[in-house]
Amino acid sequence: MNSIQVIALVAVLAATSCALAGVFLVLRRMAMMADAISHAILPGIVAGYVLARGPNVFVGFLGAAGAGLLTVFLVETLVRSRRVKEDAAIGVVFPALFALGVFVISKYLPNVHIDAEHVLMGDITFTPFDPLLLGGRDYGPQALWALGSLTLINALFLTLFYKELKLSTFDAGLAAALGFAPAALHYALMGVVAVTTVGALSAVGAILVVALLIVPPATASLLTRRLPPLIALSLAVGVAGALSGFYLATLWDVSISGMIATMLGVLFGVTFLFAPRQGLVAQAVRRSRQRQQFATEMLLVHLATHEGTDAEATESDPAHLHKELHWQPQAIRDTIDRASDEGMLEERGGALHLTDRGRDRAGEVAER
């Protein structure tokens, strides 16, 4: 594998592991927790550094994951106290933990270099040159192993506990009553999110981790209201963002993480506008159609009301409609044309006459 392929694969695996972990995070309306965890793991990394007396992948990983879970625990404790709302609790906890990490570094580890850009953007470009060394043997890029395992672990977690996650997310009360331990499941899910965040962070940086966790499920939920396709689409969006972002980043020679995050935003924006059913455009088209249909129905009911009465001649005069229904002449013209195209009415001698079909339709409309 050349280094280009390694980087692309790292990006794809980061996308898949994060999308899998992010689906239930978004469904539980805890998207902000991803942001919190991605920042609050800093003191965990520092603690790992201190404990292992130097940079150690595994100890650092455990420390960071522990800090992620600590974040979740602190937020939940604050929320349970009923004195702080969840959004505020998240906002209180993660800057404090992040700042604690910064404090410890600057006070006790002055020689450790932690680069802000590195934390935010990651160093995916260098992942091919950071091999996993075990007993002096080179097993290939470390990031591939980490993100590959995370994808597998998360897929396994979702597959095994699919039913339990679904129930406890939709109805935690019933889940608890049936003995499915929703609190334990919640922490398991948060653990998965924390570990995924830590694993992906060093490769792709904090911003991209949050984007990869949140944007694919958020985009997918604009496209489907069923859970299995939602998971599949989340994976698809994540991978599409990773590959297109990587391609454009090499094309334009810009930050790979930044470009992937940008492409995820673009994918979301495009979906938001053009999703077949829930997109803005589809909604506007649907509303406009409904308005037109309602105008037609109003016209039919109006004609039916006065049919056979003395006022029929005046009431069915298109010019009169302008005064009566307060419609603009163009709107009247369009509605009449549409109604006669649909065979609902005929225009004879300057007056509108309902067809049988139009009369039936007016009757149906008046019924509902």
Partner: protein, 349 residues
């Protein structure tokens, strides 16, 4: 208002099995398992949030094959009582047994219908899937539901008249339909005891009748149903037992002997308005209905309808005459109620 329902219910062995959802060969509903133990026995139950007691030393026996309403003002701890029975909120003190054993050993015997508003109806799933969740307890960890479970869930949807909605997105349901889906899910649980948290809240008249019919079917089947209920007017008609709760248990027992003006007055304190439900339409004179509403306990044992007055229009201090706080009784009653001039109409559909 006296009808057959108010007579103490005889446990019905003969009807066992009819209308049982799924038609599975489970243990017999009546008389099995717990021997003669009560469906629910609550002893000295106290639940507190921080240092504020929500339930205070509650003792409650729920007899077999009864339909019991839990009634009390807002904040009386009705939902908390149900959740404490199910172990969903920790008890500060006391003891709950379900058919003689702690709940954790009897999960399979208890069906739960939470408040409709307590779940996320935007969750991406369909009606059939929600009903199948009622079967998860039997299926157990890690195993996925299969074709048999789908069929059972369909049968349960059929029973609540929602079979045509099986594939419907749950976000597209009306309030009444949501409640029916919840009941179908409870039927899928197929348990001897049901706990339901406000199943009548915000449903249309048709659904309300359907739920009542369903409750009666469950009872005829020998099952026990405990329902948090808000409408004092319909309580004596729908249920045969009642527990009156206001942090403490004020009274519990058969409807006929427990649902008395005296007990209601103790439960609601100053927070209740009594409406005289006269069999004859009241005279159209403007002071007719207005004079009656707000009287304190004008009746003892006579046919009467009660309505709980929403907290918003109740003076915070106890003992204030309710009538005094209601210059315009008709407008201060809950919005669903008709004007006092037509008290018998109930919730219009």
């Amino acid at each position: 208002m006296i009808n057959a329902m108010e007579a103490p219910p005889a446990p019905n062995n003969g009807g066992g099995g009819k209308d049982r959802p799924g038609g599975k060969s489970g243990p017999p509903i009546v008389g099995g398992g717990g021997g003669g133990a009560l469906p629910i026995a609550v002893r000295d139950l106290t639940v507190a949030y921080e240092d504020k007691p929500v339930l205070w030393d509650v003792d409650l026996d729920v007899p077999p094959a009864s339909l019991m309403a839990i009634i009390g003002p807002n904040g009386a701890g009705k939902s908390t009582l149900i959740k404490a029975i199910l172990g969903l909120v920790p008890a500060a003190a006391g003891d709950v047994t379900i058919f003689g054993k702690p709940y954790a050993q009897q999960r399979r015997l208890v069906g739960y219908v939470p408040q409709r508003g307590s779940v996320d109806w935007d969750f991406p799933t369909d009606v059939l899937d929600v009903v199948m969740m009622g079967l998860y307890g039997k299926i157990g960890w890690l195993v996925r539901p299969g074709r048999r479970e789908r069929q059972t869930a369909m049968d349960c949807l059929e029973q609540v008249g929602m079979a045509a909605f099986a594939k419907r997105q749950i976000s597209q349901l009306s309030g009444g339909q949501q409640q029916r889906v919840f009941l179908a899910r409870a039927l899928a649980q197929d348990t001897r005891l049901y706990l339901m948290d406000e199943p009548f809240a915000g449903v249309d008249a048709t659904t309300e009748r359907a739920i009542v019919a369903l409750l009666h079917t469950l009872r005829a089947d020998g099952r026990t149903v405990v329902v948090v209920h808000h409408d004092l007017q319909t309580a004596p008609e729908y249920f045969d037992h009642v527990a009156l709760l206001n942090v403490r248990l004020m009274a519990s027992g058969p409807m006929a002997t427990t649902f008395t003006p005296d007990n209601l007055q103790r439960t609601y304190g100053g927070k209740i308005a009594f409406l005289d439900k006269s069999p004859h339409p009241p005279s159209p004179s403007p002071d007719g209905p207005a004079a009656r509403v707000g009287e304190r306990v004008p009746l003892a044992g006579s046919v009467a309808a009660w309505r709980e007055v929403g907290d918003a229009c109740v003076a915070p201090t106890a003992g204030v005459d309710v009538g005094a706080t209601h210059a315009s009784p008709a407008s201060s009653l809950p919005s669903s109620s008709p004007s006092p001039a037509a008290p018998g109409e109930g919730e219009g559909g």
